[in-house]
C-alpha cells in the first residue's frame, strides 16, 4: 500500500465560518503546515473554525498535540473550534487511546 493521499488542506466556506478539510498524514512533517494555515485564517478574522479530519489517514503524537493546543487556544481567545472525527481507523485509534476523542470537541464525520 502506498500512501493513499498527499497531505492536503482544502478550505471550504460555510455561512457560519471556515472549514479546513485535511487529508493525508498529519505528522512531524505536516503539523507545521496545518499550524501555519490555522494561524493565517485566525489572523484573517475567522471566528468559527472547523477542522475536518474525516479523510485523515494517520496522526502521530505531534498532530495530537497541535489539536490540544488549538482547543486550549480557542477557549482562551474566545473563538469556536469544531473537530470532525477521522474515519480512518489508524488516525481515530490514536484519539481514542489518548482520551482526546472524548475530551476535545469532536463531531462525527457527516456521510457523503
Amino acid at each position: 500500500m502506498v500512501r493513499p493521499t498527499e497531505f492536503k488542506i482544502t478550505r471550504g466556506d460555510t455561512q457560519t465560518g471556515v472549514t479546513l478539510s485535511i487529508s493525508g498524514d498529519l505528522d512531524l512533517g505536516t503539523v507545521p503546515v496545518l499550524a501555519e494555515s490555522v494561524e493565517r485564517h485566525l489572523g484573517d478574522g475567522v471566528e468559527t473554525l472547523t477542522l475536518d479530519l474525516g479523510e485523515l489517514s494517520f496522526m502521530d503524537s505531534t498532530g495530537l498535540r497541535l489539536l490540544i493546543e488549538l482547543d486550549q487556544q480557542a477557549r482562551r481567545e474566545g473563538w469556536d473550534l469544531t473537530l470532525i472525527r477521522p474515519r480512518h481507523e489508524t488516525a481515530s485509534t490514536v484519539l481514542k487511546a489518548t482520551g482526546a476523542d472524548s475530551a476535545l470537541a469532536f463531531k462525527d464525520s457527516p456521510e457523503r
Binding site: 502506498v2 502521530d60 503524537s61 495530537l64 498535540r65 487511546a97 489518548t98 482520551g99
Partner: protein, 717 residues
C-alpha cells in the same frame, strides 16, 4: 564352564529376558524375569509362555501370531519396541515394554524377548533403558550379530570396564576418537586419548576425565547427558558431542561396566550458537550510537565466540586504513596487537590480506597459517618474534560492506583455542559484518549530531539499567535525526521498597523545552513514588504537575510496577505494552488519557501475574510510526509479527528482533525518537544458567553501555 558374554550380560540385565521355543515353551528365564513376573526360573522353564505371562484375553492372539509366523508369515512384531500388558504370577496385570527377536538354528525357530515393567518409569530411566535395550538387542544371539548391529550404528558406542579400559568400541567410535583400528584404541590409555583434545563444556569450562558420564557412573555418581565441545589439538577441528552413559550392573547391583553413546551434534549446535550470537550482535550493533563504541562492540562481539582475536579496520577514501579496534580473548594480549600494528605499513598491499579484501570485497580464509608465511611476512627479527608470539592457527578476513561500498574489514584470528576456522565461521563472520556495516554507517551519521543535543540526551535516560533480581532488562534508544536537537522519549527504572518501577514516555515536544519537561516528569515520578504505590496515582500526580505549567505540557507515559511475580500497569495516552509468553503476544493494561492535556480524567491500574519466562515490552510510538520509502508505517501488526518470531523470550533477543525488524523496514533516518525497554522475568532454568555463567565467567560481557546498547543485565561479567 565360564558363561558366554551373552549369558553374562543377560543374567545381569535390568530387563526380564524370556526365551521360548517354537512350541511356545519357556527355555530361558533370567533373574530380572523372576522379579518382574514373581516366578522362579525352575517354575517357568518348560511351561507355556502364554500361561505364565500373557493375560488370558490375549492368549488366543498370541497363539495365532506364533502359528502365522511359523507358517511362513511375516514377523510384524519382531525386532521393534512394543508396549503390551503383562501378567504376574499373582494374577495382577501391568504395562510392559518389550522387544521380541526370532532366531533360526537351521532346524527350529526360537524366540527371545526383553521385557521391562514400565509402570513407574521416569524419563531418565527410559533413556537409560533405551541404551541398555540397544545393547541387549545387539548382544542377543552371538557376538557376530552384536558386531553387525552396533557396528553399523552411525553414533559412536563404547563400553568400558571399571578401570576405564575399553571393552568395546564400534567403528564409529574408533573413527571419532581418531584411531585407525579398534586394537590401537584398546591399547591406548584413556588419559592419553583425553589429552588429544581440548575439551570444554557448553559454558566454556574445561571438562576433565572425571566429568565424563561413563567415568562418573564408574565412580558411583549419577550422570546426566553431557554436551561437550572438543577441539582436536592436532587438526584444530571442532566438534560438539552429546555423551550419554548407562551402567551395566552385576548380580550384586554393582557397576560392572558402562556403555556410552557419543552423538555428534556439531551441526545443530553450531546453527544454534549462530542464531544466539547473531541475535546478540544485532541488539548490540543496532542500538549503539557512538562511532568508536560501535567499532569496539563489533570487535568484542566476535571474541571468543568466533575467534580469539578480532580486529576492525575501516577504509578511508584513498583505500587506506582509517580506524581500528581490536579485541582479544585475553585482554593482556592486546598490547601485543598494538605493537604488531606498528609494523604494518600505512599503505596496504592491494594483492594480499587486508588490502586485497579492501580492493575486491571478497572474504579470505586461511585455515592454516604455517610458520613460513610468518617468516615471509615479517619485516625484521622483532616483528617475526611478535608474529610467532601470537601463535596464529587460522585467520579469516571478511569485508564490511554496505551495498557496493566497502567500509572496511573484520579480521578474525584463532590462536590459543587451537581451533581452525572454516566455511561455517566465514558465513557467520560475513553475517556479522553485514550488520556491522549498517551499525557503523548509522553511528557515523549520528556522531554528526551536535554536542549540545548529546549532553541533554544524557539527562533523559538512566546512566545504566539497574539489575532487578529475578528479571532481565534490555533497552533500545534511537533519537530523532532531523529538525530536532533533542527528542522527547524517555524511560527510567528504579526501586521502591520491595518493588520496582519502570516508566517509559514521550513528551511530544522537541528541543530543549522537551528535555526540561522530560526531566520534570521523571523527577515528579521518582519523588511521588516515595509515597504513592499505585501506577495510576503516579500518572495522576504527573498530570497535575504538568497542568500547573504555564504553557501546554503534555506527555504520554506508561508506568509498570513490578512486585515479585506481579506487574501492575497504568497507561496515559501511551501505546499499551506487549506481553510475550512462550506462544503468544498480547497487550497489557487499558488505555488512559494523555497526561497534562484534559480536565476531569482518571487512570486505572491493571495487575497481572508476570509469568516466569515471559517478557513485557514497553515502547514508544516512534516504533509503530516509523515510515518506509513508500509511506507505509511500521504499525502494531508488523511489530507483533517481528516479536512472534523471536527465538527465545530473553530481553536481549526481544530487543534485537525489534531493532532488526525496524532497521530492515526503515530506509531513511528516524523522524521521531524511538525507545523500547524489555523486562523479562527469568525462569528458574534461565536464572540458574545466569548464575552458572556468572560464576564461571563463561559468558563474558561485551562491555555493554547499559543506556544505549541492548544490554542484558543480570549477567554481565
Amino acid at each position: 564352564m565360564a558363561p558366554t558374554l551373552a549369558e553374562f550380560i543377560i543374567d545381569r540385565a535390568y530387563s526380564a529376558v524370556v526365551s521360548m521355543d517354537d512350541r511356545g515353551v519357556v527355555t530361558a528365564w533370567n533373574p530380572a524375569a523372576e522379579n518382574v513376573f514373581g516366578l522362579k526360573r525352575d517354575q517357568a522353564v518348560g511351561r507355556p509362555v502364554a500361561d505364565l505371562i500373557v493375560p488370558e484375553r490375549l492368549r488366543a492372539a498370541h497363539a495365532e501370531g506364533l502359528r502365522r509366523f511359523l507358517a511362513g508369515g511375516e514377523g510384524r512384531i519382531l525386532d521393534r519396541r512394543l508396549e503390551l500388558t503383562g501378567l504376574r504370577a499373582d494374577g495382577t496385570e501391568f504395562p510392559v515394554e518389550l522387544t521380541i527377536s526370532a532366531l533360526h538354528d537351521g532346524s527350529h525357530w526360537s524366540f527371545h524377548s526383553f521385557i521391562r515393567d514400565i509402570t513407574e518409569r521416569t524419563e531418565g530411566e527410559r533413556e537409560r533403558e533405551r541404551l541398555v535395550e540397544e545393547l541387549h538387542r545387539a548382544l542377543r544371539g552371538s557376538e557376530r550379530r552384536f558386531e553387525a548391529i552396533v557396528g553399523s550404528l552411525g553414533d559412536a558406542v563404547t563400553i568400558r570396564d571399571r578401570e576405564h579400559r575399553f571393552l568395546y568400541a564400534n567403528p564409529a567410535a574408533v573413527a571419532q576418537l581418531g584411531f585407525a583400528s579398534w586394537e590401537e584404541l584398546r591399547d591406548t590409555p584413556p588419559a592419553a586419548i583425553m589429552d588429544e583434545y581440548l575439551v570444554t563444556g557448553e559454558d566454556g569450562r574445561e571438562i576433565r576425565m572425571e566429568d565424563i558420564p561413563s567415568v562418573r557412573i564408574l565412580n558411583g555418581e549419577t550422570a546426566e547427558p553431557l554436551l561437550i565441545r572438543t577441539v582436536t589439538r592436532d587438526s584444530g577441528r571442532e566438534r560438539w558431542n552429546l555423551l550419554k552413559a548407562a551402567p551395566l550392573l552385576d548380580e550384586a547391583g554393582e557397576v560392572e561396566a558402562t556403555i556410552m553413546i557419543i552423538e555428534d551434534v556439531t551441526e545443530q549446535k553450531r546453527v544454534e550458537l549462530q542464531g544466539t550470537f547473531l541475535a546478540e550482535a544485532s541488539a548490540l550493533l543496532a542500538s549503539s550510537l557512538d562511532y568508536q563504541q560501535t567499532l569496539r562492540n563489533v570487535a568484542e562481539l566476535a571474541v571468543p565466540e568466533v575467534a580469539d582475536w578480532c580486529a576492525v579496520d575501516l577504509m578511508d577514501e584513498d583505500g587506506d586504513r582509517d580506524s581500528v579496534a581490536v579485541a582479544h580473548v585475553d585482554p593482556a594480549r592486546l598490547e601485543l596487537a598494538r605493537e604488531l600494528r606498528g609494523y604494518e605499513p600505512e599503505r596496504l598491499d592491494p594483492d594480499q590480506g587486508l588490502g586485497l579484501v579492501f580492493r575486491t570485497g571478497e572474504s579470505l580464509l586461511y585455515p592454516e597459517i604455517p610458520d613460513e608465511l610468518l617468516v615471509e611476512g615479517a619485516v625484521d627479527e622483532r616483528h617475526l618474534e611478535l608474529l610467532r608470539a601470537v601463535g596464529f592457527r587460522s585467520a579469516l578476513v571478511v569485508p564490511v560492506r554496505l551495498g557496493e561500498r566497502i567500509l572496511g574489514a573484520l579480521t578474525l584470528v584463532t590462536s590459543d583455542s587451537g581451533r581452525v576456522l572454516d566455511e561455517f565461521d566465514q558465513q557467520l563472520a560475513e553475517q556479522v559484518a553485514a550488520r556491522a556495516a549498517v551499525a557503523i554507517e548509522n553511528s557515523r551519521l549520528y556522531s554528526q549530531r551536535s554536542s549540545i543535543a548529546r549532553t541533554l540526551q544524557q539527562s533523559l535516560l538512566p546512566e545504566q539499567l539497574p539489575e532487578i533480581p529475578g528479571y532481565e532488562l534490555a533497552s533500545f534508544y534511537l533519537p530523532a535525526m532531523e529538525g530536532s536537537l533533542v527528542g522527547g522519549d524517555f524511560y527510567d527504572v528504579w526501586p521502591v521498597g520491595d518493588s520496582w518501577l519502570v516508566i517509559i514516555g514521550d513528551v511530544t515536544g522537541k528541543g530543549v523545552d522537551a528535555a526540561a519537561l522530560t526531566s520534570l516528569v521523571r523527577h515528579t515520578m521518582r519523588t511521588a513514588s516515595e509515597f504513592l504505590t499505585s501506577p495510576a496515582e503516579l500518572l495522576a500526580r504527573v498530570d497535575a504537575t504538568l497542568k500547573q505549567r504555564p504553557t501546554l505540557s503534555v506527555c504520554t507515559a506508561l508506568c509498570v510496577r513490578l512486585s515479585d511475580d506481579r506487574a501492575t500497569v497504568a497507561v496515559g495516552g501511551h501505546p499499551l505494552p506487549l506481553y510475550l509468553t512462550r506462544d503468544r503476544v498480547t497487550t497489557l493494561g487499558e488505555h488512559g488519557p494523555l497526561l497534562g492535556a484534559f480536565a476531569d480524567v482518571a487512570w486505572d491500574d491493571v495487575t497481572v501475574e508476570f509469568e516466569a519466562g515471559s517478557t513485557l515490552l514497553a515502547y514508544t510510538d516512534g516504533i509503530t510510526d516509523a515510515i518506509d520509502g513508500s509511506g507505509r508505517r511500521f504499525g502494531v501488526e508488523r511489530l507483533g509479527t517481528a516479536l512472534e518470531h523471536v527465538g527465545d523470550r530473553r530481553a536481549a533477543s526481544v530487543i534485537a528482533s525489534l531493532a532488526s525488524a525496524l532497521a530492515r523496514f526503515q530506509t531513511g533516518a528516524h523522524a521521531d525518537d524511538t525507545a523500547a525497554i524489555a523486562l523479562h522475568r527469568l525462569s528458574p532454568a534461565e536464572a540458574l544458567k545466569n548464575a552458572t555463567d556468572a560464576r564461571t565467567g563463561a559468558n563474558n560481557g561485551h562491555g555493554h553501555d547499559g543506556r544505549l546498547a541492548g544490554a542484558r543485565h543480570g549477567q554481565t561479567n
